[in-house]
């Protein structure tokens, strides 16, 4: 608790906090009473066997899980100090603060440039005065693509459809397009599972370079990845959060027996 001695009013210690979070898909309860704190500026991994609720938890943080229509939630989720279910909080503002990367790279069927600018254009819709000039847009595109180490590869073909990129490049683009709206939190749902080892390494390196500036929460199936690419880890089982601690600690001396069994590969 050394942090609390320093006055940091603008930077809360936890970027994401859930309390008593329950979630049902129809009659099926997927999350049970989850109390989860994600520290700001760190890379936190969510691990656990298939169907343990880790993706559900991730997807409830930007409320994208509600697309399904038959989802019911109780409890609270605070992101950067705001209750995202609050009546005075706008869902679109929430999503502006929280970028999401999906399991399969899903660039929009637009050009590379338009993919990067999509979020920006979406959020200033109806506000024509703030329309940035072509030069500003070009600068934003370059900055974002440089951040994800893609600029040199695509700078001469920004007008090409994003679908033509390799999967690894597509996934990097999917991260790049989150950046122009300046989110504070990045949610990643198995971001490397569709990539080959080289692509995985490249994207992991990118994630590592983004920590500090962004709070990153990654769902992963891959134990080795959780171990090398996260700072903290949370283990889930049957919809419950079992254990959450420093990655190094979790992989060396897990407190909970089921965590230990999972990490050692006895099930899952």
């Amino acid at each position: 608790m050394a942090d609390e001695s320093k006055p940091q009013p603008q930077a809360p210690k936890h970027a994401i906090q859930t309390r008593g979070l329950n979630l049902w898909y129809g009659d099926f309860q997927a999350l049970f009473d989850v109390d989860f704190d994600v520290r700001a500026g760190r890379v936190t991994g969510l691990i656990g066997p298939s169907g343990c609720g880790k993706s559900t938890l991730l997807r409830s943080i930007n409320r994208i899980v509600e697309r399904l229509g038959y989802v019911r939630t109780t409890g609270t989720i605070d992101v950067l100090g705001h209750d995202i279910f609050g009546a005075n909080v706008e869902l679109l503002q929430v999503r502006k603060q929280i970028g999401m990367v999906f399991q399969r790279p899903n660039p929009l069927p637009l050009s590379i440039r338009d993919n990067v600018l999509f979020g920006l254009r979406t959020h200033r819709d109806g506000d024509r005065k703030s329309r940035p000039s072509k030069e500003v847009e070009a600068q934003i595109v370059e900055e974002s693509l440089r951040t994800v180490l893609l600029w040199d590869k695509v700078k001469d073909r920004l007008g090409e459809p994003a679908i033509r990129l390799s999967l690894e490049e597509q996934q990097k683009l999917c991260i790049a397009r989150l950046l122009p709206v300046k989110p504070r939190v990045l949610l990643m749902d198995e971001p490397c599972s569709a990539l080959d080892p080289d692509g995985t390494a490249a994207v992991e390196e990118l994630i590592w370079s983004l920590k500090g500036d962004y709070t990153i929460l990654i769902v992963t199936h891959n134990m080795a990845q959780a171990r090398r690419a996260t700072e903290e880890c949370a283990f889930m089982l049957h919809g419950k959060l079992v254990e959450h601690t420093e990655t190094a600690k979790m992989f060396v001396s897990p407190k909970n027996q089921s965590t230990a069994d999972y990490i050692e590969g006895r099930y899952g």
């Binding site: 502006k96 899903n106 069927p109 819709d125 709206v181």
Partner: protein, 299 residues
Amino acid sequence: MQHEDVRDFHWYVDKAMASLVFLGGISAIVFIIGIFLFITREGLGFITDGLDLREFFFDPAWRPTSDSNPTYGAFALIAGTASITGLAVLLSIPFSIGAAIYIAEFAQGRTREILKILIELLAAIPSVVWGFIGLSIMNPLIIDMFDVPVGLNILNAGVILALMAAPIMTTIAEDALKAVPDRYREAAEALGATRWQVTLKVVLPAAKHGLMAAVLLGVGRGFGETMAVLMASGHSINVPDSIFDSVRALTATIAAELGETAVGSEHYQALFTLGILLFAVTFIINLTADLVMRGIKRS
């Protein structure tokens, strides 16, 4: 070495069914070639002897029954069909695409299912019933509303045809929207787009080929429609200059006149020539729609 005879009962059934299914499969090709050969043969005499291409395409005078000087100018008929179909498609596009967007992107659960059933039901109404509606409901309504002497005109036929073309356009457009992968919507929503922004900026552009095919098939549907157009258009030979003019369509001309002509006469053959024109145009429209749709599947 002797091979064992494997031809038991099931072997014969299998072969028989295979040939039967094959016949079913190629029957469509056989029929379409047959129909084409038939109408070509019936119309060929006129095309080779009597047909003056200039007259046929540019002369508005369709006077096949004139004793002294029969003329076969199809221009007014082509203009009639084109104006009715054009108006119908213009009216139909916003409704069909709108309905398709609502069903595919916004409606949920039961509403969606009920709407789909109702739209399919709309497609099942016989065209003579539509014609009847044009004749007995639309006609007085148009006379009243616009203060024109005749209510059987392009507007009437166009509205009726728009209603008839809407179901097929809606269904095809909805399929096109549904074919847009859901991960695009998810991606855009996660970026903070509203449902409408997702539809406008992501789904519609991604589905544009399918939507175009939907419109083309609607055009094809309008082009070929006969009975409703015959009843609602006024059926008078006329190159229109407003939507309140009565016109006559190609299809309606064939339907109304074929029974009155002597088989093999010049008039009879001229009607078949109109048939060839209709066949060619609808064939091209459908083929284009099909190619456009195949184009999206490949990419």
